[in-house]
Symmetry: C4
Subunit: 236 residues, 4 copies
């Protein structure tokens, strides 16, 4: 099917007609709508999970203060899903046509993203109730699922690298090859954090877990644009 | 209403004006948005159903490992809904106008798709707790609902076969007549699996239950394109 | 604001420019997306409410059969929300611009539609457990909320009657004035059913409750198109 | 990145080409879809929270009447989220391009909006069960989260003030500078209400809490249009 589509696009370019006549604005409209649905439900359900404390009369404040780790986990998860959405948007605004490989890579990404709240909850529970072995297990699971999510990004970037005819017109063809570096960094660092947390200390892995979404958020428009923008700010 | 619409389209083609002036990009925009909503909620709620195990300190790993059938059921359901969405997208990217029959067939499809997690849960419970009669019942229910879903696909394909004026321009009119074969295969095989599971052995039905979504996933772009693409790969 | 917008549209028509330059495909895109979100969540949550029966080994079938009123309530609610969505789509495919009144009428419609599962559940519970006074109360509440929903439709149709400049080009201006009849029929019949159920017998009200969504489903494309289509079928 | 984009837009305007060739209808399509998802789930889950009362035979009416504060809280929350959505729609119909700052301000807005049901529930519980200290705490929390939401609006309006090249063509550049006044009013009045409720009386804060969404609803199309429209109505 790949050669098929590539030929269609090339033939259409020569004859100056749209390559897939049944494609409306873009082939990715429904992929984007479906993904937005999954991301928006995931992020809204995080809010629902904030516990409304049972309390005796006059003790609401104590109870609210006591469940602060709950708020931290909520904020971290909200930012994480927000960062994933920002990256997803940045990628698919550059894609015009979809093939099956891209759809499957995207479903794999949705699967791993929607799973993130599961190890997050296990981790925050294990850290609060303090059994070291449980914390090791939760850290390893968190690293595993986050690492799988980076593999999903990697496969998206790789498909868009080797099939440049799927991109919108006017997109720099070196954009997605460079993006693969960001995904490799994620795969490597989550694996490292998982090993570190298992062997040495869960808390040291946490630092990497909290830092990586910040990195992916800052670079969500791609490595190139981010570097340019930093250079420009550095200048007077 | 059908003749009405057909006449409108033919008259408009002669006069070179859009047949339904109040239709924007495509008449199916809202059908697609509504269906994407239902599919994305269904697929995200699957993730929510993964149980966060209650465990004594130090026993998180044991508990997580013990609930492995849970993960298998989750993965199978996620892939199933993903495959349904892929097929839905492939069909409606080829449709430009909707009439009431198409809307009703689509609502029927949404009804049966959204029900799938119900017999899946009954089936995985019955298989784990091992009563043979319950497993027979669950297998029969699963076959019934999946078979009804294939009937919904069949009615969609049939409507698009007999009303080709609903399609986008440039779509091969033999596409949907051939697609009906895929739906008939589903109706037949789910009925067979249900009978097999009821009379002989629930486990033999399971093999068909797991194989059919794979078949529908592989052929989601239609029988014709799939055959072409396989032929092409076979060549050197 | 109303005169403001009317003037803009008239001025723009004379000068042959788009009346609201910042409006993209249609002003109703987000109203439709938001409403589709609410409808698709409402309809999917209906499925989630189907109870997975607790059962002793070997008694799954008995339990499944025993909860048949559950399935009837689910099917009725699913069809009802589906019919509401079909009507909503048919209306807003004819609307190009939105003003605040239309937005508020639509929010009122979403409020009443999303509430429908609440009296439905009360009604099915009261009918199964058979206390006549509870059934009267549930029937009256169901009639009240459904009647309010018809008032919301009425206000939508009325706004589109008195502000024809909000419609897409090519829409018959007598379409929405006639649609008001359908909404008045709903207001009247739900009030009648509520009174009948309270004074005489809840079951007689049920007949009206089940018949009205069928009527609104059959006429979802508007009274005019439905009559034409019936006439045409009647002819040889 | 900001200068980058500004230059692109200016260069493109001179050369009469679209400034960002990969942008389809508008850069905000996915921001709007994602936000609509979050808002529609938040508003639909409010309905789910209405309690179906457990009741002895014959006491449904008593139970339904007894939980009236529940309905008031539901209606207030529904209107509040509806007003937020109306304002969001009015803003983003005027925006054509998005940069990272706008995305982050929007995520901050979604975070605070989705949180509103949490302090609302605490407040309605505290007021019903009447401990004055709990009511003070709940009022302060409600004021804090609503105040943060107004800060999110303020940052949105500020970004669109200092980066006018993000707007759709034909939008009055003085629109968003004036909108900032609405957001400042919200920040100020929620702070005042929080202080009042903490020091003096929770009920006096409630009046402000209920009045402010009405104010934001009435002015959702912007201060300018609202004033014009009021002036016009005042005239004969």
């Amino acid at each position: 099917m790949r050669h098929d589509r590539e030929e269609s696009v090339q033939r259409a370019a020569l004859e100056n007609v749209p390559p897939f006549p049944h494609v409306r604005l873009a082939d990715t409209d429904r992929l984007e709508a479906f993904s937005d649905g999954v991301f928006s439900i995931t992020i809204t359900l995080l809010v629902v999970e904030i516990v409304r404390p049972d309390h005796e009369a006059g003790h609401l404040l104590d109870k609210l203060v006591a469940q602060w780790p709950n708020y931290v986990a909520f904020l971290a998860s909200f930012c994480y899903v927000g960062v994933i959405w920002l990256n997803h948007r940045a990628i698919f605004s550059r894609v015009r046509y979809c093939d099956r490989a891209l759809h499957i890579a995207n479903l794999f990404l949705l699967l791993t993203s929607a799973l993130i709240p599961f190890p997050t909850a296990l981790l925050s529970f294990a850290l609060q109730h303090g059994n070291p072995f449980d914390a090791q297990v939760a850290v390893a699971l968190y690293a595993l699922i986050s690492g799988l999510m980076c593999l999903a990004w990697l496969s998206l970037f790789h498909i868009l690298t080797i099939r440049p005819y799927l991109l919108e017109k006017g997109i720099d063809p070196s954009f997605f090859p460079k993006e693969r570096l960001r995904a490799w960094a994620g795969v490597g660092l989550y694996s490292f954090a998982g090993a570190l947390g298992w062997i040495w200390s869960p808390l040291s892995a946490l630092v990497i877990f909290l830092a990586l979404p910040v990195f992916f958020g800052v670079t969500s428009e791609g490595l190139i644009e981010t570097r340019l923008s930093l250079l420009r700010r550095g200048r007077p």
